[in-house]
């Protein structure tokens, strides 16, 4: 930095001395910078001016309406799946929300399973078992290198579409059914006292935090180590089950039932959602597996050796030394993978899953012709969702970051 400056000064001095004339004003770096920027402003200004005037002229010529008035108009079409009540007479505004919720649903499912797959196969890369290591490599190299769209189609057209019809459904214990129309699982319908179990679950989750603090304090004071992890799991499962037993099992299970040509009741997962969620999870999972591998590999062998020579057990080396350091590398990569997953969920349009992009940029745009408004609204949503992901992952990153190396 310093060196550059002195160099610049000598040069300037040399220039001044040459012939004794003052340098031309257009050679002054600051004026030049101003000039370049002015040029860019003018260029951009002209660009936007011509685009906007073209757009206005074009829209007038074709008679397309402008503005967001259409949001309160009745849409007149139904969607395949909705998390909130929806009828064909509802508005475009409501359809926007339906699509948004469906996007969030498939993204959350995808992120969850992609993370699970990614961590399993990423860690499998370091297995002592040769076969498992090779399986991990196969998984990553196969699914990373095939376009996502092909994988979506593969699951939808080549796998799920070839499942048997409703009458010949594959079933698991006469409770879960899988056929060409989707996956049908039983639903728990709570009655009067069901809230007790819900409260118990909430208490258990809150209890984990209390337990962790208590265990940490006790260890600091007495040195004794409390098995927080296993106790937490026992609590989350045990408390609600105990509550259910004590209140006399206040719920009924609604099983899917075959009526006519299809199953009714329970929870239905449509094949479009399944295909998209599977493809997103498997595809993104292969990238996350690579990120996990890179994270673990970034830790020098000496770290493990030093921890071993202190007498730490392999389990503690993992949780105290390896994971905190690997997460530093993994979390930023996870951030961008999660964002890609959300963006890639727009492939729903290819198989007709009613996500935001499909119902809005697909159908609504087609019906209203208002390309600019619909695309703009949709893009803004994706930006916001990705900003939220980025924010959360940065929080996580700060939690695992080092002050310095």
């Amino acid at each position: 930095m310093l060196k550059q400056k002195t160099l610049e000064q000598t040069k300037a001095a040399a220039r001044r001395n040459k012939g004794g004339r003052s340098a031309a004003f257009y050679n002054n770096p600051e004026i030049r910078a101003l000039g370049y920027q002015l040029l860019l402003v003018l260029g951009l200004g002209y660009f936007f001016y011509s685009v906007i005037s073209n757009v206005l002229a074009n829209m007038e010529a074709t008679g397309i309406k402008t503005g967001f008035g259409f949001l309160t108009a009745s849409a007149g079409y139904d969607v395949l799946m909705s998390l909130i009540p929806f009828e064909a007479t509802d508005t475009y505004g409501r359809i926007f929300i339906v699509g948004f919720l469906n996007t969030i649903l498939v993204s959350v499912i995808g992120i969850f399973f992609a993370t699970v797959l990614g961590f399993i196969f990423g860690v499998a890369h370091f297995s002592h078992n040769w076969l498992i290591r090779k399986v991990a490599v196969l998984y990553v190299e196969i699914f990373r290198n095939i376009p996502l769209l092909l994988q979506v189609f593969f699951w939808y057209f080549a796998v799920l579409a070839t499942l048997p019809s409703a009458r010949q459904s594959l079933s698991l214990g006469e409770a879960i059914f899988l056929n060409v129309r989707g996956l049908y699982v039983p639903k728990m319908v709570g009655s009067d006292l069901f809230w007790v179990a819900e409260v118990a679950l909430a208490v258990a989750i809150a209890g984990i935090f209390v337990l962790r603090r208590w265990a940490k304090r006790r260890q600091a004071l007495t040195g004794q180590i409390f098995p927080v992890f296993y106790t937490s799991i026992a609590m989350v499962i045990g408390l609600p089950v105990a509550a259910l037993l004590l209140t006399g099992l206040p719920f009924t299970v609604e099983y899917p039932e075959l009526r006519g040509f299809n199953y009714f009741g329970g929870i239905t997962i449509i094949p479009e959602l399944m295909a998209l969620a599977i493809a997103l999870s498997v595809y993104t999972g292969s990238f996350i597996a690579e990120a996990v591998r890179a994270g673990v590999q970034s830790i020098p062998q000496g770290q493990t050796e030093a921890a071993r020579s202190l007498g730490l057990s392999e389990k503690r080396i993992m949780s105290l030394i390896i994971v905190p350091q690997a997460m530093r590398v993994i979390v930023p990569l996870l951030n961008s993978e999660y964002q890609s997953l959300v963006k890639n969920s727009t492939l729903a349009a290819a198989i007709g899953y009613p996500d935001l992009f499909n119902v809005f940029v697909g159908t609504a745009l087609n019906q209203t012709g208002q390309a600019i408004e619909t695309i703009f609204m949709t893009i803004v949503v994706y930006f916001i969702v990705n900003m939220v992901i980025s924010f959360l992952m940065n929080r996580l990153n700060n939690a695992v970051a080092l002050v310095s190396r």
Partner: protein, 366 residues
Amino acid sequence: MREFQPVPARPAPVKTVGPVAWARANLFSSIPNSMMTLFVMALFVYFIPPIVDWAFLSANWTGTTEDACVRDGACWVFVKAWSYQFFYGTYPEEEVWRINLMLGLLVLVIAASFTLPKHIRLKASVAAWLLLPLVGIAVLDGRLLGLNQVTTDLWGGFTLNVFMAAASIIVAFPFSFLWALGRRSEMPFIRSVSIIFIEFFRGVPVLSLFFMGSVMLPLFFAEGTNVDKLIRVWIVLIFFMSGYMAEVFRGGFQAVPSGQYEAADSIGLSYWQKILLIILPQVIKVSMPNILATFVMLFKNTTFLLIIGIPEVVQTLQTALSNSYWLGGHALEGYLFVFLVFWSSCFSMSLLARRIERQMNTDKRG
């Protein structure tokens, strides 16, 4: 004084070397490990024979129509019958030499940028690369060269994926450089514009860009101008690519040691001389693995073109699958074939990227 007599090396005890010891250490080192090994082996034994049987042993290889598929294995006849369309779309058969010519030229230019003599390599290959898309349009369309015109709605198949990806990255190259320079610039306005541009094109779903290209861009042009849909999508892909590549180059700029800039300054080069002659070649070199990775992403993303109705390879496959002469359900064969085509190209590019990276790492050490 004594002479040191080394104890001769003995071979390792049998129980620690050889295939049995290897299997013991790598497959059966503990009970959970052995169970896992047996489980994976069981999966292989269960699934692989039927798959091999379906795909090879009882597959149908010969014939030209669906009726030829009489055995219960895969119907590769389907893939064979449609292979022309899968590769060339609906491009007229008597003109297909033009596509092959362009593929040849593409390979030639790639080869030239690695093998030309050093003193003309950079200039010659940059010129060749930048000319390539123009030559490609002229040859494939044909009008400029006095050939029969082949309209763009006839272009399709896997070669369209290849050409779209290649043409986009080539044109995106110079732009992304400018964006990366802009983002590093000390001029506040130029920097902000660059950041907004880069983050916009990296932040939105590609599909929405394609929709912009197909339904929004026509509104941007003056009334009466009719720009071909493929060209509109090409423009969009160029923007998309330059957003991503700008970030790749930014990384590349950061990897070039600051001593290089200082050295360039000290021999009195102007800003552009410094950037183009000294910095740029180094940036390209260190960015090569990431450029390849970005290209693989773009290449995979060209399949998304199907959604706006452009007959790239997956769209062609969908058409074939719904053809009324081929309704016997050949989805599996079709997808496996296209899988294989994409997988082999993407996998070889990522192998190449890894090799370049390893080479660079050893260069640095040496």
